[in-house]
């Protein structure tokens, strides 16, 4: 008997959104299974925030369908019980204290009176807001406001968390704390978060969705995206005394090598090779056999920044 896989927590199918004559989303589709932390990347105006707002029911789609926790987002608002949402810039009611804000959020979300104190305390503890519980939200620093926004998003223990730029405008210490919190939340929740910070996505997400011009241009694990971009690429570093032209010709003559490019000329003799097969052993043998000192031979790995630049450039082209 085959195991039945759990239904996806977020399901987006051919989602489109137009603002007048401008198409913000041009039919994107993806699914996110339970327990995955997904980073949503894209340049400004790519459609990230629009997608997140549609998933939370704040905006209506022009076409296509979206489901959260199995329920359509354009129908009954009860699907929002399974959803926690932190909008961009973490809006708060400045006149309410942290405790009042959380109590209000809990009651508006329909938490039973008996369960309310424990839920509020748990959210405060998880977001480290204890010392601020009696402070008006308007007097909180940006970092604490962000934490309050997160606390309001998680206090009903939702299955799905949608976070729009959760670390924007925070200082480095606050960024580290929020990233750690998102990672921790991802252990028992499905998290979809947007970010401009590629290192953040690389550090926190299991999977990356890259959006550009309202279209999904990449969807994979951060490491695999990097590997895909750099598949068949080798970086070879050779002792600086060797003549560059000779080494170039030597490398180009290795069977299987399709292209040789000199890179980082300021750093000595460094070449990038492109090949369809694993040519590392042949390259090493050729260089050493010609009497040149081989200082390094590594399979190239692109970071997410390179992937991002590559896929958004490709998409623009």
């Amino acid at each position: 008997m085959r195991a039945v896989s759990p239904p996806p927590m977020i399901q987006v199918d051919q989602l489109t959104r137009r603002y007048g004559s401008v198409t913000a989303l041009a039919g994107i589709s993806f699914t996110i299974p339970a327990g995955q932390v997904v980073g949503f990347l894209g340049p400004n105006g790519a459609g990230k925030t629009t997608t997140l707002k549609i998933l939370t029911g704040y905006l209506a789609a022009s076409g296509g369908q979206a489901r959260v926790a199995g329920k359509p987002v354009d129908g009954d608002p009860s699907f929002r019980k399974a959803l926690g949402y932190l909008p961009e810039n973490a809006p708060v009611w400045p006149e309410l204290t942290v405790l009042e804000s959380l109590r209000f959020a809990a009651r508006a979300r329909g938490l039973r009176r008996a369960a309310l104190p424990a839920a509020v305390d748990a959210a405060i503890e998880r977001t480290d807001l204890g010392p601020m519980r009696h402070r008006p939200a308007g007097a909180l620093s940006k970092g604490y406001r962000q934490r309050l926004g997160l606390a309001m998003a998680i206090l009903h223990d939702p299955q799905v968390l949608v976070l729009d730029e959760p670390t924007t405008g925070l200082d480095p210490n606050q960024v580290v704390h929020i990233r750690a919190l998102v990672r921790e939340l991802g252990q028992d929740k499905t998290v979809l978060f947007s970010s401009h910070v590629l290192q953040e996505v690389q550090a926190v997400a299991d999977r990356v969705l890259i959006l550009d011009g309202g279209r999904l241009v990449a969807d994979d694990a951060p490491d695999r995206l990097g590997a895909r971009l750099t598949q068949g690429r080798l970086t070879v570093e050779i002792g600086p005394d060797a003549p560059a032209e000779t080494v170039h010709a030597l490398l180009a003559a290795v069977p299987g090598v399709e292209a040789v490019t000199r890179v980082h000329p300021e750093a000595g003799l460094c070449f990038e090779l492109r090949a369809q097969t694993d040519v590392r052993a042949a390259v090493a043998a050729a260089v050493v056999g010609a009497g040149h000192p081989l200082l390094g031979l590594t399979a190239s790995r692109a970071d997410l920044e390179a992937v991002f630049r590559h896929v958004t450039k490709e998409s623009a082209a």
Binding site: P91, P94, E95, L96, R109, G110
Partner: protein, 237 residues
């Protein structure tokens, strides 16, 4: 139920800011001054609250939009509307909660004039029938104004613009009956029927006609329904 949670937050939020205190205090000072000082109360020598019920509707055209101008406009400006509308709170419950919170504040201001009524009763033989009628009328009229003010607040993210729209709507509602006298017969009858002032005066005299109750109820319901629809339509903009 959710509407009551929103209403409670509205009320608490209003008293965390100067606006509630200013509105209540200004209403009490102005209505009290009119009742005891500006109106020749002691010269007339009659125990009546009629001046209060003549003056309060005009004050409400200012105070009701002042209460509601923050309502949705500020939520939208501050981004908290996005929070509320992504919680399991329906548009209708949110609008109703906002309205009930504002109505609660207005009812408190009206209720705080009761000591004035008791003072007048101590000075002479006060006929309580029209007094209770006047209070019911103020709550109904105030409710209609607040609902119009909330609708104005849903039209813009700017509080000042919301206040001006709200004031205009309340002012037109109250004074439309006066145009009936100069309007052609058919139109005059319609304007007469739409007059907040005429209906309020009837209730304030102690005449509780179901048609007046239905009228104010309809204005409130219609304004709140359009406000909720406005919120719903925002999802497509």
């Amino acid at each position: 139920m959710t509407a009551l949670v929103v209403a409670g937050r509205e009320l608490r939020g209003a008293f965390s800011l100067p606006i509630a205190y200013v509105v209540v205090a200004a209403f009490l000072v102005l209505s009290g001054s009119y009742l005891f000082v500006l109106h020749p109360f002691f010269v007339v020598g009659r125990a009546t609250l009629r001046p209060l019920f003549e003056f309060a509707p005009f004050l409400f055209t200012l105070f009701a939009p002042a209460i509601t101008m923050r309502g949705l406009a500020e939520e939208r400006r501050a981004g908290t509307l996005e929070l509320l509308l992504t919680w399991p709170v329906s548009d209708g419950a949110l609008v109703l909660g906002k309205f009930l919170g504002a109505w609660g504040l207005l009812a408190l201001a009206v209720g705080l004039t009761l000591p004035a009524a008791l003072s007048v009763a101590a000075l002479g033989d006060l006929d309580w029938g029209p007094v209770w009628g006047g209070y019911v009328g103020l709550l109904l009229l105030g409710g209609a104004y607040l609902a119009l003010g909330l609708l104005a607040s849903a039209l813009t993210a700017n509080q000042i613009v919301a206040f001006i729209f709200g004031f205009l709507a309340c002012f037109v509602g109250f004074s439309v009956g006066r145009l009936a006298e100069v309007a052609p017969d058919g139109l005059g009858a319609i304007l007469h029927g739409l007059s907040f002032e005429r209906r309020f005066s009837r209730v304030a005299r102690g005449v509780l006609d179901s048609r007046d109750l239905v009228f104010f109820g309809t204005v409130i319901w219609l304004s709140l329904a359009v406000t909720a629809e406005r919120l719903r339509a925002r999802r497509w903009r």
